[in-house]
Symmetry: C2
Subunit: 355 residues, 2 copies
């Protein structure tokens, strides 16, 4: 597997330099001055909201290292274009919007321009990577929740464009993600610990994110096996991602001759659809049938849904920092961060009823 | 009130022109060829996914009007920079993410670069407008869900930067929005038509969007008055925006000596918080206490919440078209679009119980 070039500092052009050329980047100045990249940038650009002592320290460090305090040089020090592309399938969905929120906060703080590319499906993505080389508009591409194909990745590398993944794992470029297997184990073990033995699964298949179900489903089977409970394939319903499908799948489980007493849903949206079906059938979530999801979508708190929490804003923040490190030349390209998930117990799960 | 300059076509620079200079824009070519701006752009840039007949028609129109078929000229024809800034308070929230989704689809289709600026609070916004002039990086700014101050607007005008509002109304620049008074009337009249006479209001105050509650609350009082029902101030609870506050406010109403039989919430999130409180109190939404919100958040469908639907993706699409029209020089600056809202009846509302 090819590595990215680790050094990426661009020499300051003599035309814009007011002092001798330098390879010191804004990230270096920030580190040496003991401040954040955003603060260093604001101090150098004479912005208002920086304490005088901090500004003085940053300026002293910049002077010592011949860092050029011109906007143009500052831009160059950050890469060729000062721009980063965020490539996102669905902005209106909580997970993606939250990751972008985290990314934007870090990248904008570092004075980088954030270009938004919404790519709804695989064809859009292919189109994005097909057309980018003709323009070379960005220093880095952050893909949110999907994988970059090998040929696309090779092309980006050739162009010197960094790739970072947020909300998805890759061995070929830096990424930030959760452990989907572990999150699913937490959910299913919770149902087992409550005493459930007849546990259904609402398996959600998303053609745009095939890795999710491919990782979450095995955790369900493994947890049952560890508990000595034979898996019953008739308790697993596979459907596309989304709440309406969760509602329909729950209906199928209720039509079972011996319905499950608890259900593991691949996401909170799927779980909330299932709960709507339970309520329409006159059943109480938790009391009659337990339901657990994955995400901790803001609506989980509002609907008393037990879930396994992930924090997509934090995934975006960390991915943003990876981008800054890459542009500053100071990170191993295979750097990968796995963020922890945690079980959040609410009213939708309870021990099984003694009937 | 000052108007924007209506003409904004930038003459194609001789340095990039392969034929005589022209003031025809991409938008003109698209209209004359009877295709969308995105299709015209793709045809001119020789992209793959355009039917041969369409491409031929676009090229013929472009030739007839001396439209310069070079990428650089195409960029100039769309404005000085080919960039549009989206300024958004909260990307992780459904409403804002959806508006941005709609905006991005139209602007990117027209080959414009979309720059994302997340501005969490009033200070961030002030900072955005303070710093933009020093850079003049964009041809237009789209503000999502908030107002631009008069001095900021004047500065943008001086710089020739267009302003468009999505999800918020203004008399000073083009905007796309719903009629918040009418949406609230639809919600409250629905409760009145069901036979409720004791109707509470969960009034949500958002310091970033003061116009919302200032418009939605009067509709409640007016509807009650038209129905001949005296307003009872003890049935109105005012709290910050958000589901947790809705939950707490509903608790206060349940503690009333004579609780309401129905509640109008200023948004779906507030309504869902209220419903959680009802369920925890052993009350059934709809059967025991009716709840109606505003939005048609995706979770409303999943939780059987009656609501008044708005369509934020559509608001974004129309705002995006306004931007294209402004850059093409063909729109009255005060153009304003009010999108209709509609009542969606689900299980959370029903006639009052005869006790």
């Amino acid at each position: 597997m090819d590595a990215f070039p680790v050094t990426y500092g661009v020499p300051v052009d003599d035309l814009t330099a007011s002092r001798a050329p330098s390879k010191v980047t804004l990230v270096d100045i920030a580190r040496l001055a003991g401040v954040g990249v955003g603060t260093a940038s604001r101090a150098l650009s004479n912005a208002k909201n920086v304490a005088p002592a901090t500004r003085a320290r940053v300026l002293r460090v910049a002077e010592e290292h011949n860092y050029v305090v011109s906007p143009e040089a500052s831009r160059l020090a950050k890469g060729n274009t000062g721009r980063v592309a965020l490539v996102v399938p669905h902005l209106s969905r909580w997970f993606f919007g939250s990751v972008v929120e985290g990314l934007d906060s870090v990248l904008r703080e570092a004075e980088l321009d954030v270009l938004l590319y919404q790519v709804g499906d695989a064809r859009d993505r292919r189109d994005f990577f097909d057309r980018l080389p003709a323009r070379r508009k960005v220093d880095a591409v952050v893909v949110v929740g999907f994988q970059v194909e090998d040929d696309e990745r090779t092309r980006m590398e050739t162009m010197g464009v960094h790739i970072v993944a947020a909300g998805g794992q890759s061995a070929a470029y830096p990424s930030v993600h959760i452990d989907d297997y572990e999150a699913s184990r937490q959910a299913v073990d919770h149902l087992l610990h409550l005493g459930h033995t007849r546990i259904g699964m609402l398996e959600a298949v998303d053609p745009d994110q095939p890795n999710l179900s491919a990782t979450r489903s095995p955790a369900y089977y493994d947890a049952l096996e560890r508990a000595g409970i034979p898996a019953d394939p008739t308790l697993v319903v596979t459907a596309p991602w989304g709440g309406e499908h969760g509602a329909a799948s729950m209906g199928r489980l209720l039509g079972h001759a011996e319905p499950p007493t608890a259900v593991f849903a691949h996401s909170d949206e799927v779980a909330l659809g299932a709960i709507r079906t339970l309520r329409r059938a006159g059943l109480r979530p938790g009391d009659d049938v337990s339901v657990v999801g994955i995400d901790d979508h803001p609506m989980a708190e509002l609907t008393d849904l037990t879930t396994v929490r992930q924090r997509p804003v934090e995934q975006g923040v960390i991915a943003g920092r990876l981008v800054l490190d890459l542009l500053g030349g100071g990170v191993a390209p295979q750097a990968s961060t796995t963020l922890p998930t945690e079980l959040v117990v609410r009213g939708s799960t309870a021990p099984p009823l003694r009937r």
